[in-house]
């Protein structure tokens, strides 16, 4: 019966397309205008991200600060390089990663870029001054699906919203030294994205006391996640 399957209703076509990798989806934008509209739809894009996270159990990692960037698969007892990604950001430093998007800087810490290797799209950002000692975070507001870049230095922090295409600057509520751990600033002030929020470890000068601090993209606030008391070894490196 199926020489011609144009009778597949849009909800079935969406269910099929949501399981394709980004590369195939971008190619199939050329199929027709209605496919292009469907694939570019923000709701479809969010469903696609959710579907990919749910089904992708391949344990894939990008290895930063090597070029071209290797995509590595952690398998049973072996690590395998699947492919290397070339990009225009050859000598840039990777700072943070969230939902497939990487925050990079060219080393000036004034010029930044958000780069999505799956769609090969990117966006350049300028900060108002060079901030090599700041803390960096990248997160996604689950309520509005807005990507946010956070740069926190001495007394203030700035938040870039991809939706509003603008920076806002806010005063810090806590006296938190995001750069307080270790000597290698370029490693210790980088936030880790978990479930849409950005987390950092911070401590006092001797690192005898450590805390987890996180940026909550829903209200643009920094919050402290208190450590469970039984974590005794505060000198442990994170």
């Amino acid at each position: 019966m199926a020489d011609n399957t144009s009778y597949l209703p849009p909800e079935i076509i969406e269910s099929i397309l949501s399981r394709l990798p980004a590369k195939s989806l971008l190619r199939f934008k050329s199929v027709s205008k209605s496919w292009n509209t469907m694939i570019a739809d923000p709701v479809f894009v969010q469903n696609h991200i959710r579907q990919s996270k749910h089904s992708n159990s391949d344990n894939l990692f990008l290895c930063p600060n090597t070029y071209p960037i290797p995509v590595v698969k952690l398998g049973d007892k072996k690590i395998q390089t699947l492919q290397r990604i070339e990009s225009r950001y050859a000598r840039w430093h990777e700072l943070c990663f969230c939902d497939g998007v990487i925050l990079l800087t060219d080393g000036t810490y004034m010029r930044f870029a958000l780069w999505n290797p799956s769609t090969r799209t990117s966006k350049n950002l300028w900060y108002k001054y060079s901030c090599p000692e700041a803390a960096f975070g990248l997160c996604r507001d689950p309520a509005t699906d807005d990507f946010k870049v956070v740069i926190a230095d001495s007394n203030y922090y700035s938040v870039y919203s991809c939706k509003n295409k603008s920076w806002i600057m806010l005063k810090k509520k806590y006296d938190v030294k995001y750069t307080g751990l270790g000597v290698n600033l370029s490693y210790n002030n980088i936030g880790v994205c978990v479930d849409g929020a950005s987390y950092w470890v911070w401590g006092n000068d001797n690192a005898t006391q450590i805390e987890l601090v996180y940026f909550d993209p829903r209200d643009d606030e920094f919050k402290i996640l208190h450590m469970p008391e039984n974590i005794a070894d505060a000198n442990q490196k994170f």
């Binding site: 079935i12 195939s24 190619r27 199939f28």
Partner: protein, 163 residues
Amino acid sequence: MAAETGTPTTLTLKSNDDELFSVAESAAILSVTIRNMVEDGCAGGVIPLDNVDGKTLASVITYMNGISAIPADEEKKKSYRDKFLSDKDFETLADMVLAANYLNMSCLMDAVSAKIAQVMEKKSVGWVRRKFGIENDYTPEEEAAVKEEHKWTFEGVETDDDN
């Protein structure tokens, strides 16, 4: 009424080309559509399935029997589904996804959608248009512009296998 005369353990399903199939009720109620009919007491006689042809229904019933024979073990069910779909061509898969949607069988719907996605992943735009029966409504200039914008996604496309 089925409930009063003792619930039948076997149901009779009728395809839209008038083929009749007997299937254990316990397997058939994987379909929410059929389960609702059974619960409403209208499964005593023959259940007409107007949107499914005999060939597809036979295949769906094979799946119903196969998957319901596997105890609650998601790994085993997954490998059964993979094997069940492994030798199906695109047209059969398209019929099955429609049937799974009509019968409201989410596990089959998910598995067939994923299988179709796997089949089409490396295919050309022309292949997709032919298989899905989609008319190209771009002007040549518009189509060239969309292709140019995503030029890199045309690397590594398989040669069409449907000519």
